[in-house]
Subunit: 354 residues, 2 copies
């Protein structure tokens, strides 16, 4: 998978440049957004849109959403080159959510540098992030692969459905953060992940199925594969945060006990609260709810999670989901090469090797 990622990345970035060039001018604006009624200000739009977008993209990212899309296209027996503009859709959407999430979380850093709202101001960053929700959807109207109208419509309907659920997931997550004692079941936690993280994965998979005209059952299977992989990824993220904080996972680049300090209600926390004694559960909730937390308190919370067996529980769930994801793929008639890549992908995702 690593080679596939490296192989496609330049082409993906080139395709993104076709949608949002590094240097905006009036000709581009007219071609992409339509004739102005009066007169565009290319300088303003450069600073409001192109600069923030490329600032973030140039900081890295493996473009795995775009590449996964292209792997599917190839698996469906079509030429990935032809669908490169469509590969940019989930990639730009994803980067838009990053900018908006960072504003919502008041994040200081992103990919090792100041979060975008610290560079451009909250207003510019937020508007750029939101613009990135709509900008890539115009690819469907431009219709570079000359899709028939029914596929264009199906793609729009799919995107709107998934982007709706993305916001439900983010909404649940934020509300749980902000409350001391939300009553969340493990299934509700998994649903939050499926919505918040999974829907972007579903967009990757379903878009590939729709533009190449796959039967519904195939679209459903690849969507489930992508969603399951994304949920497994999210749980893996939560586990890593705890393990790293307990000094077990080596370098992970996150601050110590981040999730506990933020009061995140992860699957591990939900499990620990359920399985611990009432006193310990209460103490864990207290630490999570506190406005500021000492290192000792963070360690105390982490010990409660560890003692409840929540790390093993979460790892088993994540592995189970990755297993299910692979099973979705086995039933499809992909060539060996594609099946191998997709299977590998579920591993990489959990092992954070992408």
């Amino acid at each position: 998978m690593r080679e596939t990622l490296a192989e496609w990345r330049p082409a993906v970035d080139e395709a993104i440049t076709d949608l949002v060039p590094r240097e905006v001018d009036a000709d581009y604006l007219e071609a992409y957004f339509g004739e102005p009624t009066y007169e565009y200000d290319p300088d303003g739009i450069q600073r409001a849109l192109a600069d923030p977008l490329w600032e973030l993209l140039d900081r890295g990212g493996k473009r795995w959403r775009a590449v996964l899309f292209l792997v599917f296209i190839e698996g469906f027996g079509e030429d990935p080159e032809r669908y490169l503009p469509y590969a940019c859709i989930p990639e730009i959407l994803h980067n838009g959510t990053i900018i908006v999430d960072d504003v919502e979380d008041e994040a200081r850093k992103r990919r090792g540098e100041p979060a975008l709202h610290h560079i451009y101001g909250r207003d510019v960053a937020l508007n750029a992030g939101n613009a990135m929700y709509f900008l890539p959807l115009k690819v469907l109207t431009q219709n570079p692969a000359a899709l028939p109208a029914d596929r264009q419509l199906a793609a729009y309907e799919m995107l709107i459905a998934e982007l709706n659920r993305t916001h439900l997931g983010q909404g649940m997550d934020i509300c749980w953060h902000n409350e001391r004692d939300p009553q969340i079941t493990p299934d509700q936690y998994l649903e939050m992940c499926a919505c918040k993280t999974g829907c972007l994965g579903r967009i990757v998979a379903r878009l590939a199925a729709i533009v190449t005209g796959q039967p519904e059952a195939v679209e459903r299977a690849v969507a489930d594969y992508a969603e399951l992989t994304a949920v497994a990824f999210q749980i893996g993220d939560d586990i890593l945060d705890v393990e790293n904080s307990l000094g077990r996972a080596g370098e992970f680049g996150k601050e110590f006990g981040n999730d506990v300090r933020e009061g995140k209600k992860t699957l591990l926390v939900i499990h620990a609260i359920e399985k611990s004694s009432p006193e310990k559960a209460e103490r864990l909730q207290e630490i999570l709810a506190a406005d500021s937390t000492t290192d000792e308190e963070v360690l105390e919370a982490l010990s409660i999670i560890e003692e409840a067996g929540s790390i093993e529980y979460a790892r088993e769930r994540a592995l189970g989901l990755a297993e299910q994801a692979r099973a979705e793929i086995e039933d499809l008639e992909f060539d060996e090469e594609t099946t191998r890549k997709l299977r590998e992908f579920t591993m990489f995702v959990i092992e954070r090797d992408v």
Copy 2:
């Protein structure tokens, strides 16, 4: 127009309630957003979405975007009742932009009460505002008026195009705010208004034309009518701020010299900078760029604007645009009643009587 607004408002609010009920439950979530993979948290989504949305809607607003849509539908000879869910699309979009704009501007108040991010927190408010960008678009997929597929697709393409331009307009506006001396032409200012404010008006008009299957020329004419009216409205807003601040326009409910304090580059400011002596133009820019501004400085800036004849200039432009808007309508074969309502609407909009 006032009667038309009062007449339709309850039906519009009822239709919005069908899309986002005041009390969210699992059945609604499943029906509207699709089956969950695991289990939704209706309580979380209540607080993340339904509560903020209804908090804002219950504060007032005339729902004129929805009603204007219904006036068009009636003018096109169709039954407005049948298209009520579609009337909610621009209304919910508009309220979403209000929430997001208030976060971007760090606004304290909205409709006389605290801005939503001061009640729910920035994260919840922002996510709710963004959710309201996608939520109403699902109406097209639900297809309550049983539209043929080509009209569904045309509606999606139109919405994505206009929402893209909305973000260009907002981007230009923000960038100009943040810069001391942006070189803006009057045409670029009008374009910013056409994008930022006009596109929501265009959505109202074009959506009505598309769902009822009007010819392209009709869609273009009503879109231009709506855009011109919106631009006139925006300029009217800028004039009112200056006039009110100069103690001429009576009660307007805004704080004194708001636009000057914010450093807004309005059409009046652009004109004043162009027409004043270099010293006065420099002084005006200096005051606009200042981080904090005394009442005396605000009045000084306002005098420079007034002396340059910028109020008259802006009023003439606004009246000219409203005239153009009316001309777009005259050529269409609407019944007298509809033409009267639409003509009235351009007046009401400028006189702030809606």
